[in-house]
Amino acid sequence: MTRSYLIPRRTFLRGSGAAMALPLLEIMSPAVSRAADTTDRKDRLRMCVLYKGCGVNPNAWDITGGSETKFELSKLLAPLESHKRDITILRGIDSNLRANGGHVQATLAFMTGELKKSNFKQSVSFDQVIADAIGGSTPVKSLVLRGDPYIDQGDPSENYLSYDLQGNPLPAEPDPEVVFSRLFRGFDNAGYRAKTVSVLDQIKESYGAVAGKASARDKKTLEQYLESVRDVEKRIGQFQSSDDSVRQKRIAGIKEIAGGSHMGDRIHAMLDLIALAFWTNTTRVASLMMAHTESRGTYEFIGIKREFHALSHFVRWRGKIPQYDKVNRWHVGQLSGFLDKLKSYQDAEGTVLDNSVVLFGSGIKHGDYHSVADLPLILAGGCGGQIKLGRHVHYQHATNSNLLLKLMNIMGVNRKQFAGSTEPLPGITEMGTFRPEVVDDGSWKVQSVKGNQVVLKGLLKISVTDDDPNLYVLQLSDGTQREIRASFGNINGSKLDVYVGSVMTVTGRLKTAAGKQVITNVNRFEVQK
């Protein structure tokens, strides 16, 4: 069911009792006629990232069994049942970090693919590369939004996903009403544009008069002011050149939007805004931070009173899992609603969803361990018929930056390299030829026992069914499992989570406790390539 979250603005203001009203910049001018929508299909492709921090409970997320095209959705993915043909679920894609990340690292690397030295400047994020390449044809180059109100003051880098070409963080906009007026009011008015252009010209004059007298150091700082002026000029130019009738006709029907009072409403509103912005071709690139990676937000509107981030550290207290799962399921539900919306908008050819690609996911897998292998990722939408949908693709340790490079390519960005990656991820525009699971060749077994020293080979799995964060299991060919105990999930200073899903040979001490064989004191392990 598609619900509209566009509450008429007047009603909202009355309801909230707020004494103020936002300035809507100007009222729209009548439509300026231009040719009908004859744009090339490739010029209608859109890309959206929906990020939710705090990882997932792997047991509830992972799909078990099935094949690439025939599979049952897992508990957390169940809200996507009606969209099974619109999505491709990606497994086995690792973050470039290759070691368990903190909150900051997971956020930083999600869209940039890497970490830079400085704690504030990063390398460009892939959405901005796309925006730079194709955003010039739309009024707004890209949207960078957040639905989670939480801002971490301790570490500013945690609050950003998008970085511009110079590596400056792009603050995400939190207020749906403000975004609305920027997208569908303001610069859509030719008079307002002209007025702003003349103001910008004045600023440049002033800059000339002022900068000449400033110190050399200050002059450098002031340059930033001029740069920002140029940004607005560009944006106005974009509104001007895309002043077509299709867009105007679509916009004319849009009602003003209100943010609602709680986080759920705000996230709905933001998703609606993205859908509208895509439909009206106001922008073609968007990202939304649905949940901050260290979110202290609570989800009281679905009955969750604990902080989301606190819930994500569930291993220490398993009672949290149902609540944690509920929030994650809610996020997947939002994705599902968003896909409904995109599908409901007709494009010149097919629906907006057909011409879009949506990347949904988190920068870590296991919410408690912050493991960065096998990230929870979903692709949705065909991106103009390019993406093969309705699949569950299981890679064996593919890299996130390869995925980002691939997404850039299918969005029409001719780029050979991104964040150290030179290979676009295969298996997106064509069937995956990967084996769905590691193949058991029969060699997973105990290889030697000397005294209490044991060497054994098997598939490493994480145990979240037991209330024990230090417990892993090694799956053997004969169907049995051996438990491995690793202090803090650590072996020789390496987090084991990174290797979950890999076949490894482990040397350690064998103990029998409560009728179970447990490997402790692991002093050596080797991962099979």
């Binding site: 936002l22 109100p149 400056n168 700082t221 002031l222 979110s295 009173k305 606190a310 220490r316 200073g493």
Partner: protein
């Protein structure tokens, strides 16, 4: 398991992670173990100035014989490699400064060499300290203040400045109704993005503002909005333009006078005739087509979009030496420090007539400004960011029952303001015999001042809504009361702080302990990797009875590597256990186990209640607390992180505070009188 290997791997990862770490959350308190040292020095600040000088033979000898045995290249103890200081490369200068600052700190405090080694001789010690002083504190044997960064207005300052310049109100009125409370964002706050804290810990950090693009489109929307509000206020038009009737026709000379005056105020006296002409030209151009009012408004917009409005420009001499700034520049620095706004008429006047140059007049102005309700900026903007209670306002996730939240926020706001208003000791942030408390918590507090003026903070008089009555009907602000019991008193046990450092349902002793160490004591903390879950310790305790949070934490942090930091953190956090997540006093947990707020400080002193903890803080940590408060307020006043070259000033202020009962006014006055505040340096 190979211990050596483990250490090295861990270190490597920590290195990788620390690259992206924030400057705010850093390393351990100066506990002085190797590991702690390592965590400390990993923090690099990119904007250090000192170069890399060659270490003299004698000092090199000291380092070789006393330090390098452990701190050498291959597998340096605590991952601190001191061999780099003997062969410094120019590119290393930032990290070298950091490294030397740590070395100096460890040697000066006697924490290095470690206890089981022979201490440095006096000559050895002096050679280290003297080297540091010559190379990092002084330049050419002289004190200096480092280059002065160009300041851009923050959102908070922008809103205040527009209010003052245009004589309008933009802030969200202090309005209460059943649906909304006084913590809703203002229109400017909704239009313009929030600034984020830089390395100084404050959002007015010049370097951070330099690195973030001006949100120009939004900025223009703010200017438009402010001018629209201005247009709607006949009072404001009268004040600024001298007429309120929009159809009034002005004589050319009058118009020129008004435009010039406005432009001068908008750039806060930064003289620039070229620009003045441009603004006047904007007036003349517009006056040919429209009314005088419209033309003045266009000229005002012209002045507001100029970089000389958004930036606080100062005239430069391109000098390596510190030199006095002009009096209008000083007035501007002063008003942004105390009011986070531009100078008012009177401050402009004393700057322009030259009298602000006299120390007595300057002091008088500081007094006058601290008597004005506008001083609320210090509580709201400075203390709010420093103590973190602005999080209550910034993060709507804390909104649980808005009336409650506003009261909680106001307690902190009014308390900090009380320190200024009544010129109290800055140590009363930690403990005091008075408290601002919400009406529902008056129980347990004693007498209150007789006059209403003393009882309520009057600072919000100007921000009251037009529907004043509604305010009283829905909200009674916190009142000043004396403390009768041994519980309340001091901002560290106010509801807001206790709430922000807890999760909604349970206290977080470690979060609280870290907060005290970082915020009040001024230690740099860094969260460790590989934290084992508390449940592990819980299990170990197993069947033992009466397992409380203290016992669990003790087991949890028993490893030496953990102890080095946690011996500082845990007692502080546990000492506040009597306060629930929402700051209510409790003597038992939900499961009826008794609450024990007690512990042992690293110096062996025992305490058994929050009150005693506060007293211990004020003795054991007093030096550090005072030093931290000076540094925090100076960083806010100067818009930059403190550097080694600021040490002499900090020391002088510290000495003055000791002599003057740590009075707030002395702190503020001393900062204003410091060379850092009154002078400028370009390189």
């Amino acid at each position: 398991m190979n211990c050596r290997l483990l250490t090295r791997n861990n270190t490597k990862r920590r290195n990788a992670l620390s690259d992206a770490d924030s400057p705010q959350r850093r390393a351990c308190p100066g506990a002085g173990t190797w590991l702690c040292f390592s965590a400390l020095w990993l923090v690099f600040g990119p904007f250090q100035e000192a170069g890399a000088a060659v270490v003299p033979q004698r000092l090199a000898g000291v380092l070789r014989s006393r330090c390098l045995e452990c701190h050498a290249a291959d597998d340096p103890s605590g991952d601190v490699d001191l061999s780099v200081v003997l062969s410094p490369k120019v590119s290393d200068s930032a990290s070298l400064t950091k490294l030397w600052t740590r070395v100096e700190k460890m040697v000066a405090s006697g924490k290095m060499p470690p206890k089981d080694e022979q201490p440095l001789s006096k000559t050895q010690r002096d050679s280290v300290l003297a080297w540091y002083r010559e190379n990092y504190v002084l330049r050419d044997d002289k004190e200096h203040i480092g280059p002065t960064p160009l300041r851009r207005l923050t959102r908070y300052e922008l809103e205040n400045t527009l209010e003052e310049l245009l004589q309008i109100r933009l802030k969200q009125p202090y309005v209460f109704s059943p649906q909304s409370a006084g913590l809703l964002p203002s229109t400017i706050e909704r239009l313009y993005p929030a600034d984020t804290a830089g390395q100084s810990g404050f959002d007015n950090d010049a370097v951070r503002l330099r690195d973030v693009k001006v949100p120009m489109e939004k900025y223009l929307a703010c200017v438009d909005y402010a001018l629209r509000v201005f247009g709607q206020s006949s009072e404001a038009r009268q004040k600024l333009f001298g007429f309120s009737d929009k159809s009034t026709k002005l004589a050319a000379a009058d118009a020129e006078r008004i435009v010039n005056r406005f432009a001068r105020r908008a750039s806060r006296g930064y003289e620039n005739s070229a620009e003045r002409k441009l603004i006047l030209a904007a007036y003349l151009k517009s006056a040919r087509k429209g009314t005088s009012y419209q033309a003045l408004r266009d000229a005002a917009r012209r002045a507001l979009v100029s970089p000389s409005f958004l930036y606080r420009l100062e005239v430069s001499r391109e000098s390596k030496q510190p030199y006095e700034v002009s009096l209008t520049e000083l007035a501007t620095r002063l008003s942004y420090f105390l009011w986070a706004s531009m100078p008012d008429e009177e401050l402009f006047r004393v700057a322009e007539d030259g009298s602000l140059g006299e120390e007595a007049v300057l002091r008088k102005q500081v007094e006058r400004m601290l008597d004005s309700p506008k001083r609320i900026a210090l509580a709201e903007n400075f203390a709010g960011q420093w103590l973190g209670f602005d999080g209550i306002k910034r993060n709507p996730v804390y909104y649980r029952g808005e009336k409650w939240t506003r009261g909680v926020y106001d307690e902190l706001l009014f308390s900090f303001d009380e320190l200024i208003k009544s010129d109290r000791s800055i140590l009363e942030i930690v403990d005091a015999d008075w408290v601002y408390v919400r009406p529902e918590l008056h129980r347990g507090t004693g007498g209150r001042p007789k006059s209403d003026k003393a009882r309520f903070a009057d600072i919000f008089a100007e921000r009251r809504s037009r529907e004043g009555l509604q305010v009283e009907a829905f909200y009674r602000p916190p009142e000043l009361r004396s403390v009768k019991n041994n519980r309340l008193g001091g901002m560290i046990t106010s509801t807001g702080i206790l709430r922000v450092t807890s999760s909604p349902n349970e206290t977080k002793p470690i979060r609280r302990g870290v907060w005290l160490l970082e915020t009040i004591i001024g230690e740099e903390m860094k969260p460790p990797d590989n934290v084992p879950p508390l449940s592990e310790s819980q299990k170990k305790l197993g069947k033992q009875k009466a397992t409380g949070i203290a016992e669990i934490l003790k087991l949890h942090t028993e490893k030496p590597a953990c102890r080095s930091c946690h011996q500082h953190i845990d007692p502080l956090g546990l000492g506040l256990e009597n306060f629930s997540p929402i700051g209510r006093w409790r003597t038992a947990y939900k499961d009826r186990k008794p609450v024990r707020s007690g512990g042992v400080l690293p110096n062996g002193r025992k305490f058994s209640s929050p009150k005693q903890l506060k007293q211990e803080l004020l003795t054991f940590y007093r030096q550090q607390i005072v030093d931290n408060m000076i540094r925090k307020m100076m960083a806010y006043a100067l818009g930059r992180k403190m550097q080694p070259h600021d040490r002499p000033t900090i020391k002088r202020i510290h000495d003055e505070l000791v002599k003057n009962d740590y009075r707030m006014f002395v702190l503020i006055e001393q900062i204003v009188m410091s060379p850092q505040f009154r002078k400028r340096q370009d390189q």
